[in-house]
C-alpha cells in the first residue's frame, strides 16, 4: 500500500493506493494516528487507488474517526471505487462516514 499525504489549507489529505487489507491496515493506522497526534483534525482519505478493502481497513477508518470525534475533528472519505462502495454498503459504513465523489468536493466541505 502506497500512502501519500498533502496539506490543502486546513485539510490533511491521505491518498491510498493498493489493497487495504489486514496486511496493509497497520501501516495506514500508524500514519493516521501520527497525523492525529500532531494535531491534524480535518482528515480526508482519498480511496481512489483502493480497489479492495477488508474488515481490517474498515476498522482502521472507524477507529480514526472515533479518535478524531473526541477532539472535535472529523474524517471524511472520497472517491470510492465500486467494489469498495459495495463493502461499505454491506458493513453499513456509508451511513457513518461523509463520502464525496471528488477530492475538491470533499475539501470544500470542511
Amino acid at each position: 500500500m502506497q500512502i501519500t499525504q498533502k496539506q490543502e489549507g486546513e485539510v490533511h489529505i491521505f491518498s491510498l493506493n493498493g489493497r487495504f487489507d489486514a496486511h496493509s491496515a497497520g501501516n495506514v493506522e500508524n500514519e493516521l494516528n501520527l497525523a492525529i497526534s500532531k494535531g491534524e483534525h480535518n482528515l480526508l482519505v482519498d480511496l481512489d487507488g483502493v480497489e479492495y478493502i477488508s474488515s481490517a481497513g474498515l476498522r482502521v477508518l472507524l477507529a480514526a474517526s472515533k479518535k478524531l470525534k473526541k477532539g472535535k475533528g472529523e474524517i471524511k472519505l472520497c472517491c470510492l471505487k465500486p467494489y469498495v462502495k459495495e463493502v461499505f454498503d454491506i458493513a453499513g459504513f456509508t451511513q457513518i462516514f461523509k463520502i464525496y465523489n471528488t477530492v475538491e468536493e470533499a475539501t470544500q466541505s470542511f
Partner: protein, 149 residues
Amino acid sequence: MEKSASSITLEASLGNLKAVNSFIRKWAKRASLSPRNENNLLLAVEEVYVNIVKYAYPESLGKVTIYCRMDENSLISKIKDAGIPFNPLKVPEPRLVSRLEERKEGGLGLFLMQKLVDNVGYERKGNYNVLTLVKSRKKKIKRRESKDN
C-alpha cells in the same frame, strides 16, 4: 488435464496472507469467477484466515490448510486449522448502527464473510476446525439485463 483440486498449507501468520491471496486468485481464475466474485471470495477467505491468525493459536504458531476444488457449478474452499474449537457461524451479527459512537470496531469480518459467499458451513472434525465456503460459478443475470439490451 487441469487439476480440479489442490491445497496449500502455511504457518498461520499475517505475512502469509499474500500467499493465501495468490492461491485463491489462481482458483478464482480457473473457475472463471467474475472480478467482483473473485474479490468477494478473497475477502471472505481473508476474514477467516486473519481470524485464525489472531485467535486460533494463542500459545504457539500453528498451521492453516486451504483446500480448493471446483465442480461444474461451484468453487469450494475449505479452510482447516488445529486451533481452539471455534464456530464462526455462532458469532452474533454486529449491530450496524449508523451512530459512530455506538459502532463497535470488531465483529465485522465474519459478518462480511457470510454475506459474500453463497454458502458457508462449519464442522469440528477431530482436532480440526473446518470451514467450507462455496462460491457459485454461475453468472447471476439481473432481470433488467434482458436479451434485448
